[in-house]
């Protein structure tokens, strides 16, 4: 049994931290002070991805179908591997286009003494005369925790531990407050991996969080690009990150998340599981998470359907 606990926090106050995600390290530090030493030593925490609490519906590849208002405001059932990533993608592809999806999925900015923070709720830009009918939407943070053995000796963490975590900068000034919205445990071994079980298929790998190649952290060796990645022409984009522990700052060299590489390994299902639990140095703090998908499947479903529509139109002309 390999168990992860998924957690959804509601943002209650402005967040003044990393704009890409709440780092797993920040979540770990917030949790560590509330648990006993053995848990502290063995718990591993993913990056927290921002999720808008908005109307939406399942994209095709998921095990469930349909949609709901406030789709992003609660955890959804997980039966297949794809379901794990519903809220892990920055583009939040489940958001409905009949609403202003890009306005829902970008943060309102607030300035606090010269620094830019994200607001916990979004106002919708309505004309001045209708100011009173403004609708607001709340942001959530999605992450998961697991024990380093993969078993269930560390998790689930108590709701008391997860409720009221403070994240990001200026925490002593009331910023970054969250409350626990929902939590759920998932056994990775019992999920449906049928999309990855076709032995003939070829797969690609999408980086959900940065992969660390170099670190100033004591004892962390440099890593090369794993042999089972086959990068695309043009190479890989790199980005600097940092890890903050107490008041020490360690610079990290990473391969930036969001990129897609080919998969050249022998065992997609096993690789997929290790991608959920993350690989490489600092994987315990959220780095090195990835998702596997068949090459035939487009990350942008509308693009595939528009391409098919063009193809049939071209066929009709012949």
């Amino acid at each position: 049994m390999t168990v992860v606990q998924r957690v959804l926090l509601e943002l209650d106050e402005d967040y003044l931290g990393r704009p890409y995600y709440v780092s797993g390290n920040a979540l770990y530090r917030a949790i560590a002070r509330r648990v006993e030493a053995s848990t502290r030593r063995s718990v591993a925490v993913s990056h927290g991805v921002f999720v808008p609490g908005e109307h939406g519906g399942y994209p095709d590849e998921h095990s469930q179908s349909g949609g709901a208002p406030y789709f992003g405001a609660g955890l959804r059932p997980v039966e297949s591997y794809e379901d794990l990533f519903l809220f892990r993608d920055a583009a939040q592809r489940w958001l409905s286009s009949s609403r202003p999806r890009d306005a829902h999925n970008t943060h309102d900015l607030r300035v606090h003494s010269g620094r830019v923070a994200f607001a916990p709720t979004v106002r919708f830009g309505l004309p001045r005369e209708s100011r009173n009918s403004k609708r607001t939407m709340t942001w959530y943070v999605h992450f998961y925790v697991h024990g380093d053995t993969g078993g269930s000796d560390v998790i689930p963490l108590d709701e008391d531990v997860l409720d009221g975590l403070r994240l990001g900068g200026a925490r002593n000034y009331g910023l970054g407050g969250t409350s626990l919205k929902d939590t759920q445990t998932v056994d990775l071994d019992s999920l449906d991996y049928s999309m990855l079980e076709d032995a003939e298929g070829s797969f690609e790998l999408e980086l959900v969080s940065p992969y660390v190649t170099g670190s100033e952290y004591p004892g962390a060796d440099d890593q090369s690009v794993p042999w089972w990645w086959t990068p695309r022409p043009g190479g890989l984009r790199r980005r600097e990150e940092r890890l903050v522990e107490d008041s020490d700052v360690y610079e990290l060299e990473t391969i930036d998340h969001g990129q897609v590489v080919g998969y050249g390994g022998p065992n997609p299902v096993e690789t997929a599981k290790s991608g959920v639990l993350r690989v490489g140095t600092h994987s315990r703090f959220g780095f090195g998470e990835f998702r596997l998908r068949p090459v035939s499947e487009d990350r942008v479903p509308e693009r595939a359907s528009n391409a098919a529509a063009r193809e049939s139109a071209r066929g009709g002309q012949r």
């Binding site: 704009p19 043009g234 984009r237 990350r299 391409a307």
Partner: protein, 258 residues
């Protein structure tokens, strides 16, 4: 190419192609765009199918801003008024100057490309349409196209602008749509036009942002990984840059992250 830049000017009055006047400020507008480039550019920024009102209470040709959340009308600030600024924009007679005028235009970015999708931008829809027409005429299909980053040689110089193909220009970099990316950092647009901005942006082997405004560009980059509509995203980059500079001038913003 002139007619491509003029084809959607009627949208400044919230009119559809069917209801629009054929002439504005003495030049013909609302002429058909060749090679299906107009509908392809529209698919990059809006969903397929019948338009639906996506922001309650806002049916207006004025664009809503993702940066401020408010209507982006700087009507009072457009010198001589919106109508005459628009007239000046479309009356240019040289195609290359016309492209340059649209890249620089502030008035074109006041409007959305559809009243139903108010965060989209008329300015960037038009520039994307022109880039598609020019590439299609050169024999490229949509699936041959790339988004390319052009950086300036040094921080002082402006990046190189390629007529009709450059879709966004800022002091240190430009973005371009082309079938021949050469050695430049580039990402494929994919098999067919769709709202795919975040997907193409995150696949670029190099992002144009770095340097002095580190924190600002990280915030902009993080948001760009969440946006799907092309014209909305390009407008967001341009507008964020202006917003940030204005904030700095009024010294409410420091530089670093911590």
């Amino acid at each position: 190419m002139l007619s491509v830049y003029r084809h959607d000017v009627h949208k400044s009055r919230g009119r559809s192609h069917e209801d629009a006047a054929a002439e504005f400020a003495g030049v013909p507008v609302n002429e058909p765009v060749p090679l299906g480039a107009d509908s392809d550019a529209a698919l990059l920024s809006r969903p397929r199918g019948e338009p639906a009102q996506s922001v309650k209470n806002h049916i207006s040709p004025f664009r809503l801003s993702l940066v401020t959340g408010e209507t982006a009308t700087s009507a009072g600030r457009v010198e001589g008024g919106i109508r005459s600024a628009l007239a000046e924009l479309v009356q240019t007679e040289d195609p290359v100057e016309m492209h340059a005028a649209w890249l620089e235009s502030a008035v074109a970015s006041i409007f959305n490309e559809s009243v139903y999708y108010p965060y989209t931008s008329l300015k960037f829809h038009t520039l994307l349409t022109a880039a598609l027409v020019d590439n299609y005429r050169a024999g490229c299909g949509f699936d041959d196209l790339y988004l390319v980053v052009d950086r300036s040689e040094d921080a002082e110089a402006d990046p190189r602008v390629v007529p009709h193909r450059t879709v966004l220009v800022l002091p240190s970099f430009a973005l371009r749509i082309t079938g021949e990316p050469g050695e430049k950092p580039a990402a494929r647009l994919g098999a067919a036009p769709a709202m795919s901005w975040a997907d193409v942006w995150t696949r670029l082997p190099e992002h144009p942002f770095d340097g002095d405004d580190g924190r600002m560009w990280r915030v902009v980059d993080a948001q760009l990984r969440r946006i799907q509509s092309w014209s909305t995203a390009l407008q967001f980059i341009e507008e964020s840059y202006g917003w940030w500079r204005a904030m700095r001038r009024s010294s409410r913003l420091g530089g670093g992250e911590q």
